[in-house]
């Protein structure tokens, strides 16, 4: 057993932390949140330059990492700084999914270099967190395929040059078999978007596919065989999201701890009230649990118990995340309710992660299923 980061990952962590500390302060981020794009192209380019995106890909895919702990290290740092740029969407849900199906080396290279954005258009209006529920259809027509359907809350869709669209070629609406994936340029006729900002930063869009015609070469992987690569890529996304929340919780508790030491009421720092000290202690206890849950998720990535550990981690992180977000705000008092204050954004990042690919209940159900199996 060894719980230290490798030298490379330690360097990656140090570099990224230093960069974000210097370049991504609250004021900068709040400006990004207010911008029409909802992200900074400059910061994206600089982080790509630093190798942050490359670290999320395996050597086979043209990167220099790509393991569970590479992903965890990067996303923990992004979470600490409350970064809103779409690393999850472009690199993991987009790039790693392309990597999983193969045959798109050029586009993956562009992603790693920071030149291309991607988005995964999978979820649908009534599907909630259920990955197999795909009602959008793909019908072959000569050498083409025609796509129809609606995709919900497609994060980063407007910035993306391509969407990876899931659509059903066969099977019942909730079957794993029959779902295909297509690489669709966002300027394809029949593809329309309604974009909007999100509460915790970044942008998403409702995507409508109205007789969208693509060549059959746009199909990624086999006919009706999209679910497995999607599922495998989601495993990486879950690690990323769990690690991001972990990082955000590190920041939330640090901010709270610091505030308890400086805010004075009744002539003394509020951190001298034992009632608050115990609440702080509870948060720190749970934070260690969260760190271990992320380590479990990343460490068992290549094993049979991958999904069990991931479901467990996301359930635990969701519970702890809510505790830390709510308690951090409460222990601060009114100041944490203001948009300007760093914690407000961090708390939103933590809680809103629940809504990406499953909340505590969803992952509890998955865990129950997997642990009974």
């Amino acid at each position: 057993m060894n719980f230290d980061l490798t030298e490379e990952r330690q360097m990656l962590q140090d570099t990224l932390r230093r960069y974000l500390r210097e370049k991504y302060d609250t004021a900068t981020r709040n400006k990004i949140l207010d911008s029409d794009e909802g992200m900074s192209a400059e910061i994206w380019a600089e982080l790509a330059e630093l190798g942050v995106i490359g670290a999320l890909f395996t050597e086979d895919q043209g990167g220099f990492g790509g393991g569970g702990f590479d992903i965890a290290v990067v996303f923990e740092e992004l979470g600490r700084a409350g970064v809103v740029e779409p690393f999850l969407d472009t690199a993991i849900l987009g790039g790693r999914l392309l990597g999983a199906v193969g045959g798109q080396d050029d586009l993956v290279e562009e992603v790693i270099g920071g030149a291309a954005h991607l988005a995964l258009a999978h979820g649908e209006p009534g599907a909630r967190y259920d990955l197999t529920r795909v009602e959008s259809t793909a019908v072959a027509d000569g050498d083409d395929v025609v796509l129809n359907g609606r995709k919900a809350v497609v994060v980063n869709a407007e910035a993306a040059g391509h969407l990876i669209v899931s659509a059903r070629e066969s099977g019942a609406v909730d079957e794993t078999d029959g779902i295909s994936l297509f690489l669709v340029p966002t300027d394809t006729a029949g593809l329309t978007m309604r974009g909007y900002p999100m509460l915790a930063g970044g942008r998403a869009a409702e995507v409508t596919l109205d007789d969208v015609r693509v060549p059959s070469s746009a199909r990624l992987g086999g006919v009706g065989a999209g679910w497995q690569p999607l599922h495998d890529t989601l495993a990486l996304a879950h690690i990323a999201l769990a690690a991001e929340v972990l990082g955000a919780m590190v920041s939330a508790t640090a901010l709270t701890n610091e505030y308890l030491g400086t805010r004075k009421q009744f002539g003394r720092p509020i951190g001298t009230f034992q009632a608050l000290q115990h609440r702080m202690a509870d948060m720190l206890i749970e934070l260690e649990q969260a760190r271990s849950a992320v380590i479990n998720a990343a460490g068992y990535l290549e094993t049979d118990s991958r999904d069990l550990n991931i479901a467990g981690a996301r359930n635990l992180i969701s519970r702890v995340g809510r505790l830390v977000a709510e308690e951090s705000i409460q222990l601060h008092g009114g100041i944490a309710m203001t948009q300007e204050y760093e914690l407000a954004h961090i708390a939103k990042r933590i809680v809103m992660t629940d809504h990406r690919f499953g909340d505590a209940d969803y992952h509890l159900e998955r865990f129950i299923e997997l642990s009974a199996a």
């Binding site: 309604r194 009421q265 009632a275 705000i329 008092g333 009114g334 809504h355």
Partner: protein, 399 residues
């Protein structure tokens, strides 16, 4: 023990229901349903005017001042029915915070001048207690008022002033004797927001809403007749006000309406192709909070009927505040959970923007409301401060 409402109370409930059905404008209830941050000043004033017309605006005022003089059970019934009908909540600052103080401690002139203007909506009031350095420790407030002839000269800063951007007047706690013991040097002063030297600066909350403000005072001249009661007795009046601020604090009606709304949403939402409300985990969460709420509703009635009998609520008010806010916050948490990925869009855009909801129309404001309602356990005396009160009373053998 008898949990049933009397025939008179049932008749009153029916009357309130009928009033809501006939008099509550649809535009207003629709806005409330989709998140009450959409209500404008005009909306609030319109609803106040409708209630005033009926004589139901000043519910806790005695008849002599033009109030409805309802007892606590009547107020409770109204609160339930109003929340159920998605009525805007009554803005409390003038009606239930300042007015009781004026009635008890104000001069005849002050009562005659200000109370009718609160009723007919001429004056919008806001509450100027908190300061950057004086939150839970309110008595440490620093805004000072120095007597110069017929005026006080006020300097300092208030903060968290709810809806101060709409206000014509602010009732303030100010320091008039810097040398006295903290609680003994404070006075209760009424300040016209249009006086030169008063500046309102918005504070945007974490859900993007503008509901609170900073209010700055620079050499603001306030006539001495605007002092309520005696100089340096303001703390006593403020404490009196705080007990009034807490009487409706359980928010049972809001929670009941919120819970019904969560259930409606959970019937409409699907998980694995079935209504979410049939999902055992989500159903258990709903049941848990409903069990707590049913008990709270009875606690609330137990305590309000005592208050009707003239007994002042003591630590029970603190207990209601803590439990009531925790339950309301839990319900808001369920609401955002219920809508899954559609909790993510930012509401101001989805509601205003092109006026078309993103996803189901009920989803828009839910996550923002979840964050906004974190305030419930912070203001009105934080839940920690309430627990201190409870503990102190218990340990001190005060019961």
């Amino acid at each position: 023990m008898d949990l049933s409402y009397s025939p008179e109370e049932q008749a009153f409930r029916a009357e309130v229901q009928e009033f809501m059905a006939n008099e509550l404008p649809k535009e207003l209830s629709e806005k409330v349903r989709l998140g009450d941050e959409a209500l404008t000043k005009e909306d609030q004033e319109r609803w106040h005017a409708i209630l005033n017309e009926k004589g139901w605006l000043a519910q806790n005022w005695p008849k002599e001042f033009g109030g409805a003089a309802w007892n606590a059970v009547q107020r409770h019934i109204f609160e339930e029915e109003a929340a159920k009908a998605n009525a805007p909540r009554i803005v409390p600052f003038g009606l239930s915070m300042l007015a009781p103080v004026l009635m008890k401690f104000g001069s005849k002139e002050q009562q005659d001048h200000y109370l009718p203007r609160i009723l007919d909506g001429t004056d919008w009031w806001c509450q100027g207690y908190s300061e950057p350095g004086a939150g839970s420790d309110l008595a440490s407030l620093k805004t000072k008022a120095v007597r110069e002839g017929d005026h006080y000269i006020v300097n300092g800063q208030k903060t968290w002033t709810t809806l101060g951007q709409h206000a014509d007047w602010i009732f303030c706690l100010v320091r008039t004797d810097p040398d006295a013991k903290q609680q003994e040097g404070i006075s209760f002063l009424l300040i016209d927001m249009n006086t030169p030297g008063v500046e309102v600066r918005p504070i945007i909350l974490l859900d993007g809403t503008h509901e609170v403000n900073e209010v700055w005072f620079t050499d603001v001249k306030v006539p001495v007749e605007n002092l309520v009661g005696e100089e340096n007795k303001g703390w006593t009046y403020a404490k009196y006000l705080l007990t009034h601020e807490r009487t409706n604090i359980a928010g049972v009606g809001f929670s009941q309406a919120g819970l019904e709304s969560v259930k409606r949403i959970a019937k409409a939402e699907k998980a694995n192709g079935k209504p979410l409300i049939q999902n055992p985990h989500f159903a258990a969460r709903i049941a848990q909070v409903e069990i707590d709420l049913r008990a709270l509703a009875t606690s609330n009635l137990r305590i309000v009927s005592k208050a009707s009998a003239g007994e002042a609520p003591g630590i029970e008010a603190s207990m209601l505040k803590v439990k009531g806010t925790v339950i309301r916050q839990e319900i808001n948490d369920l609401a955002r959970r219920a809508v899954g990925p559609y909790a993510m869009p930012f509401p101001s855009e989805s509601v205003e923007g092109d006026n078309m909801a993103i996803g189901p129309d009920y989803a828009g404001p839910l996550a923002a409301q979840y964050f906004n309602y974190r305030k419930l356990s912070i203001f009105g005396g934080s839940n920690e401060v309430q627990k201190n009160i409870i503990a102190k009373t218990m340990m001190g053998g005060g019961r």
